[in-house]
Subunit: 352 residues, 4 copies
């Protein structure tokens, strides 16, 4: 049994990993840390856990928060883990960070990322940055191993796009400058903090695009597609929010290169995802929707070609809080500790 510490336990990312860790046969929760709700029980914040997780939320400065763990999840926004991960690593822990702090393992890329968001381009732990690994098992599994210490967990929109585009880009099925990602998310992607755009009366029966000036997940989509392609990839990405709680539906488009048809596409996708236990593929008539991945770590891909326009069209479905966040983090943890990749994750959701 390994011991896990969750920093930022009170948010949706924190409760998500807490739920998963409690069901994991090889891991247990050592400490739940947050700066708000200190002293309250986790089940006070999340009464569905009453009797299951009544641990107290501990302040980061509390001695209990500083005891060593085997794995530390930073379910925290940008800027936290780059300051605090070092201390955890020094105590012998492996670290999995949810934020953008460790999604780019070189200074130039991080600086570009920070600049796009209007932030300080200087990383606070440059040595750790270069050690870190991008935590997308389906792309990077061989680098997420018991020898790895530090993983930057993938952004929710990014994983939905990358799992859908990676085969096409690696196999050069599409023109590299033709890629469009049209992504819709449920409201939980915005986290637990209330705000006018997430207020029920403003949110029901409402769809809107947002951050059209540039979403924070674009850079990691482009960087990883560029690695797969060998050529620089730029994408048009449109984030939208719809009146749902969980789920991301990404429609991914690219112009097929001459001579590429549906069979070549299917071959590439089947081959790429052949040994990815959490990727399932469907055809255009399957009727798949986001509720079919709700509550699970699966990514369902509809692999399709619009023959009339010779365009690749992939419809990617994930639960933004599972494969898009805590579930993928646990999958990374499994790889970091040499557990089977699916341990504690091989479950379906609940319907309806």
């Amino acid at each position: 049994m390994i011991k896990a510490k969750v920093i930022g336990a009170g948010g949706y990312g924190g409760v998500g990993i807490t739920e998963l860790l409690m069901k994991h046969p090889e891991a247990g929760i050592a400490c739940l840390v947050d700066k708000t709700d200190v002293g309250r029980r986790m089940s006070d914040l999340y009464p569905h856990l009453d009797g299951f997780c009544d641990m107290e939320i501990v302040d980061p400065e509390d001695a209990r928060a500083q005891e060593a763990a085997d794995v530390v999840f930073f379910a925290t926004p940008d800027g936290v883990a780059m300051q605090a991960a070092g201390a955890e690593l020094d105590k012998g822990a492996k670290v999995i960070d949810y934020s953008g702090d460790f999604r780019f393992n070189n200074l130039e890329d991080y600086a570009e990322y920070a600049r796009r968001l209007g932030r300080d381009p200087e990383h606070k732990s440059p040595d750790l940055l270069t050690e870190s690994v991008y935590g997308l098992p389906e792309l990077n599994r061989e680098r997420i191993t018991p020898d790895t210490r530090l993983v930057g967990n993938v952004g929710c929109f990014a994983i939905s796009c990358l799992l859908g585009l990676a085969p096409a880009v690696r196999e050069k099925l599409v023109d590299i400058d033709s890629i469009i990602c049209d992504s819709k998310t449920g409201v939980s992607g915005a986290g637990k903090k209330p705000g006018p755009a997430f207020h029920y009366p403003s949110r029901y029966d409402n769809m809107n695009a947002y951050r059209l000036t540039g979403h924070q997940h674009v850079m990691e989509i482009e960087k990883n597609l560029t690695i797969l392609s060998g050529d620089e990839v730029r994408v048009t990405f449109t984030a939208q929010v719809v009146p749902a709680c969980r789920g991301i539906l990404s429609c991914l488009y690219g112009s097929l290169r001459d001579g590429i048809g549906i069979e070549a596409v299917l071959d590439a996708y089947r081959s790429f995802h052949a040994d990815h236990p959490f990727v399932r593929m469907y055809d255009r008539n399957s009727g798949v929707g986001t509720h079919h991945v709700r509550g699970s770590n699966y990514c369902n891909l509809i692999v399709d070609v619009d023959e009339r326009t010779n365009r690749l069209r992939i419809i990617s479905h994930i639960d933004n809080l599972v494969k898009g966040q805590a579930g993928n983090a646990l999958q990374n943890m499994n790889l970091l500790f040499g557990f089977s990749e699916t341990t504690g994750l091989d479950h379906f959701g609940q319907h309806p």
Copy 2:
């Protein structure tokens, strides 16, 4: 490992018990039976089960549907089990029926139930009726044992009301003619079959009362309260539906008898539910809602007294598809086979 057969597998009650059986350590699914969708895989109907439950739906007349099982769940409407349960019992199975067919173990009560609904008052299997046990473990646990063969699983509204009212009625805290049950359900309570009242555009942002002439669950509420009281109990019951999928919220009222205050109430409730693992109690300031029981077998009760009017007020929360249906059925199964009552059910839901 016991083998289970699910009849009516394609509906919400069927998929609910299928999901639970797949996680149960002592049970497995032998056969999924239904009259519609015959020949399709369960995962075609419910794609979230893709790779988990790809069994074919079998027609009731199919030889495979008639093989013996250890336990048979009739996730079917009134009238099915009373015709077909006998054959299953004869093959040595225990039977758990979801419908009203076996919720009244004498002919008079059944006739009264049927008459209220405008149906044939004659039961098709009178011998089985008198053998059957009302499947509410918290009321009837000592009668649901390995010696029992036939259980009538509780109605969803009924269980939400009975768990909330039983202590008050047994301990004579309230005037027996003062009881009102005001119950709101999510739409899944109506089942999987589409209809005008459950069509999304007519259902969102809409609340309404229905079946004001008499809901089919009233009779079992009254009968079981009468047993607890010793005196005949009649209740006013108002079924309502709100734009949610899962959940029943029942507000239960009764005039406190002279001299009864909150302390006596709390004593009675704590005592009654002391060894009921799926009942949790809260006070009026707890902020409990139906999402705290969503996806789980728990019933959360707010136990309260309105001092200004000297009235008992219980707020009862369940997931109508779990404690209100498949979860309670599995709890009954556990008792029928001598398993721990919580086996395969001791899990929390997912939030948000």
Copy 3:
């Protein structure tokens, strides 16, 4: 054309009266006042009004906010109007206040109201309090006239309960100590300000009761029923919130007095509401729901008796933001200025 000033224009109560005033043939908006969003256009806050209401929000201290108007709506919380209404009245305006400040026209009742809510029991404008009129036209129409200056608009829960209970209480159909109001509201009743309980991910698929210690609308229900009855009335009231935006569904119960049956009930209700243009009555089989009053000023009542328990059961449906707030305020304005009661209000909603 009369000129209206709206104080608290930026909230749901403010935008509601703004929408209605813009369609009113005899009234126009002179000034929109609020303490937040000062300097922004109303259509910046509410883009559906773009091109229709581009007036600037003005600070209360701004000279424009202090110009005289014919009618002033205080769409503000408790405590505002009792301080500021006097100045508006002095300038010759009539005042309609949405809060509890002027719902009780004597000091004792106000003090009791304030005490129940844990507030200062001393009213800041006692003279105005005694002058004020309770703004429920269906109860008080003869007192809301061109001679009236100051109206306390009804609470949303209160109006749903009072319209449903007034005939029964006035005609002594029910035992006065047997009344229960079980009321469910959509989320917009909580106003525009985001909060954890109204955050979409916590609110969808969730029902809960709240303020079980005492809702602020109970006192005005009781006071007005007491006036109708002649005897002191106390009610048990349970506020609940469900995942809808608009709508209140109140189930209202009372034990019928000996000899009272459905015909006497129907007579009393038809008689009481005979000349109330915004009250429509239905029977138990009508299938009425809150979406049938959505966006309109109607109150739909299902008038019913549970014969088995000899209990009156009224199901009352309103749009909490129209008949429960701005629409009723406009109805009061019509009476205050001698317009036809239905002017600017005789419209239906939109379906679906």
Copy 4:
């Protein structure tokens, strides 16, 4: 006052035009016709109209249904109007058809449309087809005049895409083979008839793409863009449905031609839509969503360029039942009768 007949009155398209006609100062409803619910009052089907529209639904064969009207709305599926419009025209009526029957005014285009949908390519009224006019006022206003008899009202997805793409295509801002329409609709777009995909429990918290093999609105998008362009246009179109009732959000993409930047784009859009009273334009930071057009006839366009990829990105927002259906039909009626284009339509929705 002109007299209108509505055929297919009982569906969402029928009630939509009924609501609008009742508020129109120059028109009245002469007859409501449908094949289902014959003999029921419109307000029985739609109780929000109780007291407003209590007209009886009349069978098409009924003599009342065959009396002459000034305008006839066919709120019916493909295949109805092409059989029945002639008789109405012969009686002197103008006809506005909601279906695809008259959206293509030549036989070849209609045959191609029908073939795509797997239907009989032969039109039943070829003479009327060539007389008909495509009812998109913003494209075709000069052809929708008092001299016009027959209008094919636009498809809901089509209008959202065409209003957003027309300026770019006419002004050749984008490469003609680069256009992608990613469109999300609320559930009401599927009409009033219940079905498994629109059943509340399957629809809430679910997003999915559908009809990936080809949506029936693609052909009219392509045909009208081709007319604007002069060159043949083919688009990739992806229909999606999200858990909302009303609204279409279309993200429209095209590669900007060399030298075209945001200023040229804005000029083209401002110029094209300068005298279109129902089109409003916004920039990328405006925070516009579908609830800002909800219940109104407006189309809100965010006009944007993704500079990093040199791609046009238009976000188009409509209410699918108003500008996408009944509202646009009324706008056509206004033009057909020489009324001001905005008569009966110059209203905003309601918020929240």
